[in-house]
Structure formats: C-alpha cells, structure tokens
Symmetry: C2
Subunit: 227 residues, 2 copies
DNA sequence: TGATGTGAAGCGGTTCACAGCC
DNA sequence: GGCTGTGAACCGCTTCACATCA
C-alpha cells in the first residue's frame, strides 16, 4: 500500500464494488476473486485490485477476497459506518423528493431538515422532515448537527446559498442547481448537473453520425476538413 | 477542424459554455475572447478553443468569438434547436419531481408521459402529465413520439425497464436507479447515481486526512507503508 | 496452481506555447 | 498587437504483464 492521493474515480468505484459485494453476499458467496467480480459486473480486474491496494492488502493470493471482510473494510473506508445528517435547501419539487429519497438511508445519511424562504412552506412537513426558514439556517444546522448540505434551489440563488452553507461550517455539499459551484478551502462539492446530462443526450441524438450512419460535414460557413 | 471522435467531456463543456454565453448576452456583450470567458467562469482558455475547434472555426483572430453567432452554433451542435419528448418510468417521488423539472423545458425537452405499474397511480396526473400503465409503454411511446426515457424505478427493476425501453426503439436513456446500466448497440445511457455522489461525500468526511490534518495509517491488520 | 499486488506501458485528456491570421 | 487554432509536451488514469506469495 502506498500513501498517495486517491482519485475520486477510485472512490466512486469503491461504492460500486461494495454494492457488488452486497449482491454476492446476499447470494451466499464467501470469497470472490478480482476476476470473478470483474466478469460478473463488467469491471476490470486489474483496476479492482489496484483500487483496493491503495487502502491495504485485503486479498489472499490464490484465494481472492473474503467478501464479508472486504465489505467491512469498504464500509469503513467510505465512512458508511458513521451517521450523517443532511439539510436540504430548497423545498420545491426536487428538494422534497430528495427529502425522502431512500438512497440516503441506504448510505447512512438521514435528512434532518428542509429549508426555504417561502413563508407559506415554513413549518410544513414532508414525511417526517420539517421545513425551516432559511433565515434560521445556522442555528438549525447546529441544533441538528447537520454535516451535509444539499442545494436544490434555482441557479440564481445557488451561489448565495453556498455562502451560507460554508459559513455555517458544513464541509460537504451536493449541488443540484444547474451551475457548477467551485469548492473553497476544504469544502467538498459534488455537482449533479441534470442539464448537462440532458444536453449530452440531446447531442447524442442530434449528432451527424446518428443520421443514417454517415459522417456529415458540419455546415458551418467556415468549416473545412483537414486531411 | 478535424474529423475525430468527440469526447463526452468536451460535449459536457459545450453545455457549460452555452450557459456562460447566455449569461454574457443577457449582460449585453457582443464578443468574448476565450481568455475572457475562461477568466470570468473559471475555465481554461486553451480548452475552450480546442473544444470549439472540433466543430468549426467559429472565432476571429484578434477579436474573439461573436457571442450570438457562437450561441447559435452551440445550440445546433447540442441539438437544442430540436424538440425532444421524454417518458419517465416510475411515478414515485423522484419520477414525479422530474416530471415538472424546469430544466427539461430549458433544454427543449418536454415530458410527455409518466409510467408506473401501480394501478392506483395510473390515470392520475402530475401537473399536466398523465401516468400510464407500464404495460402500454410501447404504444404510448409511439403515440407521443417519445425519444428519451428516464428510469426512476428501484434498482431491482432497472434492468427490465431498460430492456423495454430499448425494445421500443428509444436511443437515449437517463438512469437514476443506483445501478450502472450499460448501453447496448447504439443506445446512449447517462447514469445519474446519487448513491455514488453521496458516498463520495461520505468518504471525504471520513477520510483520515480530514481528521486534524494528519495522515493516519489505515488500521487494517495487514496494511503496511511502502517507501 | 491460482490469484494478488504492482512496476511499466499505453492511452486519452489537458495545458503549454507559438505560428498564423485579423 | 491581439486572439485563434493547433502540434507538442505533459499528466493522470487504465490496462498489461508478471514477480510474488498462499
């Protein structure tokens, strides 16, 4: 094992490995080789070994990995053995949908509070989660020990909201507003930009190579083909 | 301009550039240099030029890019000048939230139908969008000319749903189920895995370097430090 | 023998730096 | 002079291939 920077691509894959292992465990398997895992879930075995090796020597040569053992390691590495409290800013459709998104609980996150500026919404509940006035953000964060913020407000408010979040001392943010926010200091931001994903699909549907399989010359006035 | 494979990273950035240009246009700007764009929106000017150059010579040396002109080009490249029809499978919280997600309209997508297997939901409306029986998927897709599918069902049903989608001839899919689906043939799938994003935040909060700034040795029994 | 852990090679994307053009 | 378009250098991630070990 080496002490070096772990790429986010690696940690993302750890999440996937953990799910695969849960799958296998549910089927009663006890050990699995990197090759077995790779074949079954369409991954690359060398990559699995390398990803895991960043964090320790979890495998046994000639045998593979003990599934339960590796699950425990991954759970610990990913911090999924600790509870986290989530505050969602923006009690619109998306925010309220996220408030009881079952995926949170699955990863040991629980939604403690929703926030909004709309006086009509404040005090209402979405499932068991109350909607608080955004003005009471800092104190509510302290009260509920919120350590993860979710931004679910329109783009034009996202930067201001981020400011409030970082001021309150929260270090982990998930941003759904269609504007890539940059992290300042030691704050981690995950941007989930649905607009980009959509427009990527739009590009795929529109691109010339999808029209009767022929590569068409773009019709920009000044374009030319080299080679 | 070269004829070569365009990476998805590039097309994702085109979406961002387009938004930046819309911003600038709203402020009344007429031209912008790659450097000006980069400085203002925290991008890399060489990358902007390279990304754009894949599609044509849109700039003018010594001047920069004409904003309106470039907006038109990007809109066309991304296929945002054409309407698309979306069908959402899964009329749970997430599915219904997506049904009137304003981001769709913004990118020229309109949600035509929701689908569910729950007989109690079928026939109901979410905003203006009706919930149809998943059994009538193929015919409803034809009827409404749906060309984009959104998977918003639990993980265990996602693979089956994808099967139905591809059988119906749809070529673009957005998957919100926490299981990475692979594209078959010429179908494009965008996986939006919130669980991975969450666990990435969890990792960030848990990782040793975040504890009093010290790199701690992992306490796996067999771990060791090389070098 | 069988599977891990890991240098080395390969590959794709980003950044640099500058020739070429307005 | 200013800015684009682009080959070349660079960098980081992935894959290969194999020494190593149970």
């Amino acid at each position: 094992m080496k002490v070096e920077k772990i790429s986010e691509l690696t940690t993302n894959r750890l999440s996937i490995y953990l799910r695969c292992l849960n799958d296998l465990a549910a089927q009663g398997a006890k050990t699995v080789s990197s090759d077995g895992l790779a074949k079954k879930f369409h991954l690359n075995s060398a990559q699995i070994r390398k990803d895991l090796a960043y964090f320790g020597e979890f495998g046994v040569r000639g045998v593979g990995y003990y599934i339960d053992d590796l699950r425990k390691h991954l759970t610990k590495i990913l911090g999924l053995d600790k509870k986290h409290c989530v505050g969602i800013i923006g009690a619109g459709r998306l925010g309220t949908a996220l408030a009881d998104y079952y995926g949170f609980a699955q990863s040991n996150f629980s939604v403690a509070a929703l926030f909004d500026a709309d006086q009509d919404k404040i005090g209402q509940k979405v499932g068991t989660v109350e909607i608080f006035d955004i003005k009471s953000f800092a104190e509510t964060v302290k009260k509920y020990k919120i350590d993860v913020a979710v931004i679910a407000v329109p783009a034009e408010f996202a930067q201001d909201v981020l400011e409030q979040i970082t001021n309150s001392g929260i270090k982990a943010v998930m941003n759904f507003a269609p504007i890539p926010l940059r992290a300042k200091g030691d704050v981690k931001i995950k941007n989930v930009d649905l607009t980009i994903s959509l427009e990527s699909l739009s590009y795929f549907l529109a691109k010339p190579s999808n029209k009767n399989g022929k590569i068409l010359k773009p019709n920009a006035a000044k374009s030319r083909i080299k080679q």
